[in-house]
């Protein structure tokens, strides 16, 4: 720890302030340098992904030997010349499914590429995000603001579900969804129902908990004033509390979007045909087929991660606060 360089206050008072300020400066700089080194370490994998994605296949595997020239080492870190054509190639290389077709709003399209996977993932992630945000805030409102018999135990039960591993409920849920009656759109297999509908049913204990914490922090007088003005419970929820909870809503929305975007196990279980696959599944397919073409794999991985990075940078102000609150209360 760098902190040990600070002298204890019992040190000789002679020149104490001057020396303390100096050591504090040293400490501050040490901390700064350590954090910078850490930052480089944290970013290196993602930067390496970017570097690899611009290399040729031959350069990907060319590791400079210990006594290599400056140029060899430079070429390892900076792809000269860069090969941006890896990107379109990675995007369309799954032309091996050129025989397959898929439909875009009813229009049949020949050939499956990452475009198909992106649209599928986008659909699932947007629906999942909407469903989670809406239903978790509805449920959280009841837990935070309304009195009903069994509220305490039910909320505890809700929290307890966080401990249940998804794999426990996976098989019965799978069987339930496969046997869904036709009037409910069944069977829920090889379509998006099993991935989207559960989001509309509460959105999971974590999100309910997070929303409830936010609702609880809003003074109850708000509700009362609105009720005197003739608001129903739903009116209070929709017109008063939700607009005040934008940071929390953003947190839930961003997180559920990311979760759906990254989700792997559920699509793996429920989606079968190529035209239905998500980006996560498409990428794994791609890995097993082009396992050694790391420049293409990295290009594809980077493009897939890009929306996440953008969303993160755009929403971080809100949701860093959001998770911090849940973690603390």
């Amino acid at each position: 720890m760098t902190d040990t360089t600070i002298p204890s206050p019992t040190a000789a008072p002679n020149g104490f302030w001057a020396s303390k300020r100096r050591t504090e400066n040293v400490t501050r700089w040490t901390v700064f340098v350590v954090l910078v080194v850490g930052s480089i370490t944290m970013l290196l994998p993602v930067v390496w992904m970017l570097i690899t994605s611009f290399k040729t296949r031959a350069d990907v595997f060319a590791v400079p030997p210990p006594n290599s020239t400056f140029f060899q080492t430079l070429k390892f870190w900076i792809p000269i010349p860069p090969h941006p054509e890896n990107y379109p190639q990675a995007w369309t290389v799954s032309g091996m499914y050129s025989g397959d077709s898929w439909s875009f709003f009813g229009i049949p399209v020949q050939g499956i590429t990452f475009t198909t996977y992106t649209l599928n993932t986008l659909f699932i992630a947007v629906c999942g995000c909407l469903g989670t945000t809406l239903s978790s805030s509805l449920v959280a409102f009841a837990f935070a603001r309304l009195r009903f018999p069994g509220r305490g135990p039910l909320f505890l039960l809700c929290l307890a579900t966080m401990m249940v591993p998804t794999q426990v409920t996976m098989i019965p849920t799978f069987i339930l969804f496969r046997n869904m009656p036709a009037f409910l759109g069944g069977p829920w297999y090889n379509n998006f129902f099993p991935l989207v509908v559960p989001a509309f049913l509460g959105g999971g204990a974590y999100n309910i908990f997070l929303m409830r914490q936010f609702f609880m922090s809003i003074p109850y007088e708000m509700d009362e004033a609105a009720k005197i003005d003739g608001c129903t419970n739903f009116g209070v929820f929709w017109r008063i509390l939700l607009p005040l909870c934008k940071p929390a809503l953003t947190t839930v929305a961003v997180f559920s979007f990311l979760w759906n975007w990254n989700d792997f196990l559920n699509p793996l279980i429920y989606l079968d045909s190529n035209s239905k696959k998500t980006l996560a599944l498409g990428l794994t397919n791609f890995v097993s087929l082009y396992g050694q073409d790391y420049q293409l794999l990295m290009a594809a991985s980077l493009v897939i991660s890009l929306p996440i990075i953008v969303m993160f940078l755009a929403g971080q102000r809100y949701f860093i606060q959001g998770i911090a609150t849940t973690g603390l209360k």
């Binding site: 040990t4 975007w261 594809a300």
Partner: protein, 302 residues
């Protein structure tokens, strides 16, 4: 119950209805069904066959892969959780030192954990761990001088595949860091002032003020991280093509459950899932049992 109360309760249950449907059909019901299935043999296509404790007997006495999966999961958890937590606390402490550019640092450290469990990251790490041309062995070679051919083979080696997973998990320290950072900012500055008057140096303040003040957050993080790391799946699936190799050295519990599910051994798979559930509950219970080290400020005011 007055009529106003009844009205409120009815309205509450309307708000709760999505959650109640989920609780009954996608949580409670499936848990019971999985419990029942774990005593059965079933491949979906043929009728269910009740077999009593056979699945569990098979698992405990006749299935070395189950023990291997349990061991691998525990290995990963016991290495990645404590080291990862220590790292994220240290990073949070450093960032709390009023350094310049904390917002930028916070973003940089948090970014990898946002990408965290995604398939894209797993593909990237598979490439970094590549024995002959991966970045990790190159860096090892540059910094230690060990020839690349003598560096660990990581994912291709039975001995190094699990440490590789642990190393990869350190890039997720940002998630914990954010929470610790918030926790640090919640420790009242009066406590530090009091400690300083008592003559405590910075090191003593860390142990007597900061860490006790942070302990509820550490406790929360400990529980959440252990539950999470017992359920590692995506990364292992992608990096080992769903096999958990080499020689089952990365076969973790969830992967094993998935493999059995994929081969339509629904009963056995459910039994495995139940054992995982019980292990997680046991781990959580134990942590609560030995939670005396957690210090709640509110307790003093009783």
């Amino acid at each position: 119950m007055t009529s106003a109360e009844r009205k409120e309760a009815i309205s509450a249950f309307m708000f709760l209805s999505p959650f109640l449907i989920w609780m009954v059909f996608l949580m409670g019901g499936p848990i019971l069904a999985a419990f029942f299935l774990s005593f059965c043999k079933w491949d979906i296509f043929n009728p269910i066959q009740f077999v009593g404790f056979d699945n569990y007997k098979e698992m405990f006495f006749n299935d070395p892969r189950f023990w291997k999966a349990l061991y691998n999961t525990a290995y990963f958890t016991f290495l990645s959780v404590p080291i990862g937590m220590a790292l994220s606390i240290v990073v949070a402490l450093l960032m709390n030192q009023k350094v310049k550019g904390i917002a930028i640092f916070r973003t940089i450290y948090y970014l990898p954990s946002i990408l965290g469990s995604g398939v894209a990251m797993a593909v990237l790490w598979k490439w970094i761990f590549n024995a002959d041309s991966g970045l990790l062995n190159y860096m090892l070679n540059v910094f230690t001088g060990i020839p690349i051919s003598e560096c660990p083979k990581w994912l291709a080696s039975e001995a190094w595949s699990k440490p590789a997973l642990v190393i990869m998990s350190f890039w997720n320290v940002g998630g914990g860091m954010i929470i610790y950072l918030a926790g640090l900012q919640g420790i009242p500055s009066t406590l530090y002032e009091a400690a300083e008057i008592d003559g405590a140096n910075r090191w003593q303040q860390l142990w007597t003020v900061t860490l006790p003040g942070l302990s509820p957050v550490i406790f929360f993080q400990l529980i959440v991280s252990i539950v999470g790391s017992f359920q590692i799946f995506n990364q292992v699936y992608v990096m080992t093509d769903g096999l958990g190799g080499p020689a089952d050295s990365t076969l973790v519990m969830v992967l094993y459950i998935y493999q059995k599910f994929k081969y339509f051994q629904m009963g056995y798979s459910s039994a495995l899932a139940f054992v995982l559930f019980i292990v997680i509950m046991l781990a959580t219970w134990l942590q609560f049992r030995f939670a005396k080290w957690v210090y709640y400020e509110g307790e003093l005011r009783k």
